[in-house]
């Protein structure tokens, strides 16, 4: 995880690497809209699996798979556990009782702590949304040259300052992990064991002892970078190298993808009108049936 190469884009000859960066960004936008639009667990699951397949096609290294899966699992299990404990909607089914309401003081105060089945399900489905976006984002980050990303943002009229910050943030992600590794190594050399105890007080102390040096080094690096870009005329209107031609096939593919997305949005609105008792279109019954299952 602390290896810089795990985070930086490396050239490759796979189909995913060869896709135009604009195509990848269009796919990312579609994914972002879809995860909000979809409520059906099965469609969200399929979407997430699709992003994993793309990582497979891109021949991600084992180190990258490790990072991706670790983050995804943290999200899924974290979301499931938190929702299982704090799910407040009805109906809810108790799967297990962690703390009986009969326990003096704490049981009375909390009214009991339970694991709810519906909470587990809800948490898992919510986690699929964030997991899909995480997976798709990492795919683009790992397979696209940041300079190409910057150029495509600029080509799509994103303000230069915003695009620059976005790409800089992306490029600095590996550096932050590297900094973390350096800090942890330095602390270990001084006899410090960050995970010697899992007591909350100890963990908070460890977090402060690790985060402050990282923050200090990051700020120092940001200042250097700021001076560097200012000295090179940051924000000055100059002619910049544009992007090459967007391959026609990919362009059509993206237009098609966006049209499908637009249609899904319209259908979702129609479904919401029906669900909320505002308007029902009998002639669209087949679509309602499909949406009930898949959206």
């Amino acid at each position: 995880m602390y290896n810089k190469n795990v985070w930086e884009a490396v050239p490759g000859d796979t189909w995913v690497h060869q896709l135009d960066v604009r195509t990848k960004l269009a796919a990312l936008v579609c994914c972002a809209v879809l995860v909000v639009l979809l409520d059906s667990p099965r469609t969200l699951y399929l979407l997430f699996c699709t992003t994993l397949v793309l990582h497979g096609i891109a021949r991600a290294s084992w180190a990258r798979w490790r990072v991706l899966l670790l983050f995804v699992m943290l999200g899924i299990w974290g979301s499931m556990i938190s929702q299982a404990l704090f799910y407040g909607q009805e109906p809810r089914t108790v799967v297990a009782c962690l703390l009986s309401p009969a326990v003096p003081l704490i049981g009375t105060l909390t009214g009991g702590v339970y694991i709810y089945r519906e909470g587990l399900e809800y948490g898992a489905v919510q986690a699929l949304r964030s997991a899909s976006m995480l997976s798709m984002g990492l795919l683009i980050s790992w397979t696209s040259d940041p300079r190409q990303l910057l150029r495509s943002f600029l080509a799509w009229k994103m303000p230069y300052e915003l695009a620059f910050m976005l790409i800089t943030g992306l490029r600095f992600l590996p550096v932050i992990f590297q900094e973390t590794a350096v800090v942890l190594t330095a602390q270990r050399l001084r006899g410090f064991e960050p995970l010697r105890s899992l007591a909350p007080r100890r963990l908070i102390q460890t977090a402060f002892q690790t985060l402050f040096p990282i923050l200090a080094r990051t700020l120092r690096r940001a200042v250097t970078l700021a001076f560097s870009v200012e000295s090179r005329g940051f924000g000055r209107a100059v002619h910049r190298l544009g992007l090459g031609r967007w391959p026609q096939g990919q362009w059509f593919g993206c237009v098609l993808l966006l049209l499908v997305l637009l249609s899904l949005m319209v259908l979702k609105v129609i479904d919401a009108l029906q669900f909320n008792g505002i308007r029902y279109f009998p002639e669209l019954r087949r679509f309602y049936d499909l949406m009930k299952v898949w959206m």
Partner: protein, 477 residues
């Protein structure tokens, strides 16, 4: 070490993803049948009459408890040719299985909620009733589940999507010639507590062409959720079950017999209510015999009856009269009344407190949770008492299959299960216990197969027992 770490992460992830996928896609029909019908054969029933062929999960459903009046439903029917079993679930899934428990196809209903399921007379199609903004009657091809036709009931019954008062096809029957009869129903509950009932009876030919409606130019202003038709399609019977009689002006009688052409009422009966009830209600009945010569049923107040085809009362018996004990008025509700060859079979369900069904009662009603068998002359043959509510009753000339569910008084889960009784003596042949309440039952026409639907339930201590599951059994006598 790093490789082990990576392998462990990948393994945990695959398990997580697999479990998630199983949970998400693990709907109805995902369990395997019992291999060869043998491994569980000895354990299915206590006496060996019931041999389990398959146990198939029907997906996830909301888990109810004893405090809820309505409960999870499961729709079951064997095809008349005895080759297949159709199952409809609470989640709107329809499955077709062969007699070895293999799922031949399954289909999701979509927006609508499943309310009725019936095979056509020739077994070649499956009729589905649903409640939705359209209230469709849908006909599916038995071969592959392909939709053949659908007919809407919204034109007659109306809809209010804002209040979600939808029309629905709540009962379907067929006659010998393959003609289809369906009851459409919609009810509206107003904020002031009043009810408005709307009902229609439809008649279709096998291709889905509408042949008639009853009433022709207006809706039934009564709760009608049952229909029965004789083999020739000459007589239809239905009962009314009105909670509130305030808005009812035309269809005030308790029981109606109409002609097969749906032109008019042949006869009807109004039975005065038994105190302390204000209305006489007939919910799951009446049933007309295949030859059209007898009509039987049981009112909710516990009175069962047999009329002849012309509406002459042959006999009337009170099986569970309301009682007042320790200043509490209690009653056991009459539910099903069916003809089984020469005999009439009736079921009486749980004991309820008249003031509020959830309130306790000092004792259980002596007639509660029982089966009663009479012959056509009204001679009492036998009675069998079960420990829980008879959720559904399926009859064949010599076999009676009962789905036994909750007992809201004793709350004893040990009584749940599928029970098989012999007819006419009403003796227990076998019972297959289920953890959760058994909510649906069916028996094949030749009496060689029985099926039941088990549902999960949450006990008062919070524990959830049972699964939403189909259980298919072979009856070996």
């Amino acid at each position: 070490m790093k490789k082990v770490y990576t392998a462990a992460i990948i393994l945990i992830f695959i398990v997580t993803l697999g479990l998630l996928g199983w949970h998400i896609f693990g709907d109805a029909g995902t369990a395997l049948p019992v291999i060869g019908g043998k491994s569980k054969a000895q354990t299915a029933g206590k006496t060996g009459v019931l041999r389990e062929v398959a146990a198939i999960t029907l997906g996830k459903v909301e888990v109810y408890n004893y405090q809820r009046m309505g409960f999870t439903r499961g729709f079951l029917q064997f095809s008349p040719d005895g080759q297949t079993l159709a199952v409809g679930t609470e989640n709107g899934e329809i499955l077709l299985l062969d007699m070895e428990g293999r799922v031949l196809w399954q289909k999701k209903l979509g927006l609508g909620k499943l309310t009725a399921l019936q095979f056509t007379t020739d077994s070649q199609a499956l009729l589905i009733g649903e409640s939705s903004p359209d209230g469709f009657l849908v006909c599916l091809d038995r071969k592959d589940g392909r939709e053949l036709w659908r007919q809407s009931s919204v034109g007659e019954l109306g809809v209010n999507i804002k209040d979600k008062t939808f029309p629905g096809i709540v009962a379907i029957r067929t006659d010998e010639a393959g003609r289809i009869y369906a009851v459409g129903q919609r009810y509206i509950r107003y904020p002031d507590g009043r009810y408005d009932y709307r009902g229609r009876i439809y008649k279709f030919d096998p291709s889905g062409q509408r042949l008639g409606m009853f009433p022709g130019d207006h809706n039934l202003d009564a709760w009608v959720s049952w229909i029965s038709v004789d083999d020739k399609g000459e007589k239809l019977t239905f009962g009314t079950a009105n909670w509130d009689m305030g808005g009812i002006s035309r269809y005030t009688d308790s029981l109606y017999c109409i002609d097969g052409q749906l032109q008019g009422v042949l006869w009807s009966k109004l039975l005065s209510p038994v105190p302390p009830f204000q209305n006489t209600t007939l919910r799951s009945g009446p049933e007309i015999s295949p030859d059209g010569r007898y009509v039987t049923g049981i009112f909710s107040d516990g009175r069962c009856f047999l009329y002849d085809g012309q509406g002459q009362e042959l006999w009337l018996r009170a099986l569970s009269s309301p009682q007042k004990i320790a200043n509490v008025e209690l009653n056991a509700v009459g539910t099903y009344g069916q003809m089984a060859g020469e005999y009439a079979v009736f079921s009486v369900s749980n004991t309820y407190n008249r003031a509020n069904w959830q309130l306790p009662t000092p004792v259980e009603h002596p007639s509660s949770n029982s089966i009663f068998v009479f012959d056509r002359q009204g001679q009492f043959i036998n009675r069998y008492k079960l420990g829980g509510m008879i959720e559904e009753m399926a009859t064949q000339e010599q076999t009676l299959v009962l789905a036994v569910g909750r007992n809201v008084r004793t709350k004893n889960p040990a009584v749940h299960g599928l029970y098989v009784l012999s007819l006419p003596d009403a003796l227990l042949l076998d019972d297959a216990a289920t953890a959760g309440p058994c909510v649906g039952a069916a028996v094949s026409r030749d009496g060689t197969y029985a099926a039941g639907v088990e549902a999960p339930i949450q006990l008062d201590n919070g524990e959830v027992i049972g699964e939403y599951k189909l259980r298919l059994y072979q009856i070996v006598r």
